[in-house]
């Protein structure tokens, strides 16, 4: 029953094609996933409540952003960097990579302004430094805090249930749909053995299927909630 061509071995020579969007996206989403997983990282050792940390983070960012006093900014930098020194080497890079990228970008963006107006350089550099500090604080927070502890804390201070519920399922779906996108792109990559002329329709397919699957999963989840006694009372979640 096999057709002739399937019984033979193709003598195939692949063409050159530079498209790497699928690989790039697989990598980007892979990084997101690993960062969502890494979250458990350091939490076990130190037991500062997640909510305290979240509020602390917010206050520190407000101070760092609003404050024009160089001494205060130097102080914050000293504390953060000294704290980072106590971290094991293997975790450092993960914490420092995002702020380094963000502050480098800020620096590059500000170069023309520095050239046009040299007198503004100190202020511009302060902004770059602040970008570094703020992003470091955020990544530090993330490497030491599990997100479900934050949502738990939000519930405890009576943030509306529907909001916390939505945050929780959003994170759940980011993982589920993110894995789906990665698998779809991987299987596409396996079959993309030549010139990919219809990249855009493939993207439409990958994200379209992801959307459809997401809505389906949602229906199933709602039914499962109903089965467990949920009565459309989102306030009480």
């Amino acid at each position: 029953m096999l057709p002739e061509w399937m019984k033979q071995t193709d003598n195939y020579v692949p063409p050159k094609d530079g498209g790497t969007f699928a690989i790039k996206t697989i990598k980007t989403i892979g990084n997101i996933m690993s960062r969502l997983k890494v979250q458990a990282g350091h939490e076990k050792k130190r037991h500062i409540p997640a909510l305290v940390k979240l509020i602390g983070l917010f206050v520190m960012i407000v101070i760092a952003s609003a404050c024009q006093n160089r001494i205060v900014i130097l102080g914050i930098a000293a504390v953060i960097l000294a704290y980072l020194c106590t971290w094991p080497a293997k975790d450092l890079w993960g914490v420092l990579k995002p702020p380094l990228a963000a502050s480098t970008l800020a620096f590059v963006l500000f170069v023309p302004a520095m050239i046009m107006n040299p007198a503004g350089i100190p202020n511009n550099l302060i902004v770059v430094a602040k970008v570094f500090l703020c992003v470091t604080m955020v990544t530090l927070f993330n490497h030491t805090t599990q997100w479900n502890h934050v949502t738990l804390a939000l519930r405890r201070i009576h943030v509306p249930g529907i909001f916390v519920f939505t945050l929780d399922i959003t994170l759940k779906y980011i993982v589920l749909l993110g894995n789906l996108i990665q698998d779809l792109l991987t299987s596409m990559q396996f079959r993309a053995v030549g010139k990919h002329d219809k990249k855009y329709s493939s993207i439409g397919g990958v994200m379209g299927v992801t959307f459809i699957r997401g809505t389906e999963m949602n229906e199933q989840m709602y039914e499962a909630m109903r089965c467990r006694g949920f009565t459309d009372d989102y306030k009480g979640l």
């Binding site: 029953m1 033979q8 530079g18 690993s34 396996f190 053995v193 010139k195």
Partner: protein
């Protein structure tokens, strides 16, 4: 000559203490059929990730068709395309393999990539529709088919590339008896045609007599 050779492979995820695979070796002769058995979490998935070039072992080497498959080797666009052309992989869940708006386009994706002429593409797709019994579904959205139909479309979309090696991850899962029997028959014919088969399955009864080797992973 061995088509696939894994030599003393060790692999672990993210600096985990215990490796998923440790000092693991196997070899597959061209044209043979190998069945891989192992419980959930035994490293079967990892093995397939290594074989398909998604993961790379920290120790040991993977030789495919005379070339060592490394991260650098697959960075070369042409090498990686040729590698994927030769190795067809059927994912355990067909859902992650279907992203085209019509069954026809799904099967035609591979041949179109290969730069075949329109007639050749059509011939391949028509043949696939025929042998997989998908004729009535030609214009349907793959996504809305039943589980068994999806699996058939997914397999057809791999077969239309005519790979030398076919790796199947639990191909029987979710199929009814009739489709299972059909699949066994199809795999036997592939083997007879000289294709190399690597199959992970819990239900290998149908393939006894076809399989040249059973590998168990612990």
């Amino acid at each position: 000559m061995n088509l696939i050779e894994l030599n003393n492979i060790t692999f672990r995820y993210n600096n985990d203490e215990t490796p998923v695979l440790e000092d693991f070796s196997m070899s597959v002769v061209r044209g043979s059929c190998v069945i891989v058995e192992g419980d959930n979490g035994s490293g079967k998935t990892t093995l397939f990730r290594i074989l398909t070039g998604l993961s790379f072992p920290e120790k040991g080497s993977y030789i495919f068709d005379g070339a060592e498959i490394t991260k650098n080797y697959l960075k070369d666009n042409e090498m990686s395309k040729l590698f994927h052309k030769k190795i067809g992989f059927l994912f355990q869940s067909p859902d992650v393999m279907l992203f085209n708006p019509r069954v026809y386009d799904e099967i035609a994706f591979g041949p179109r990539q290969m730069g075949l002429s329109d007639q050749e593409v059509e011939a391949r797709v028509e043949d696939c529709l025929e042998i997989f019994g998908l004729r009535e579904l030609t214009d349907k959205a793959p996504y809305h088919l039943s589980g068994g139909q999806k699996k058939k479309v997914a397999l057809a979309s791999v077969m239309s590339l005519n790979p030398d090696v076919l790796i199947l991850d639990e191909p029987y899962a979710g199929l009814d008896k009739k489709t299972q029997n059909w699949l066994t028959q199809f795999l036997k014919e592939l083997k007879a045609a000289g294709k190399t088969l690597l199959i992970a399955t819990h239900s290998s009864e149908g393939l006894i007599g076809t399989a040249d080797e059973m590998i168990e992973i612990e």
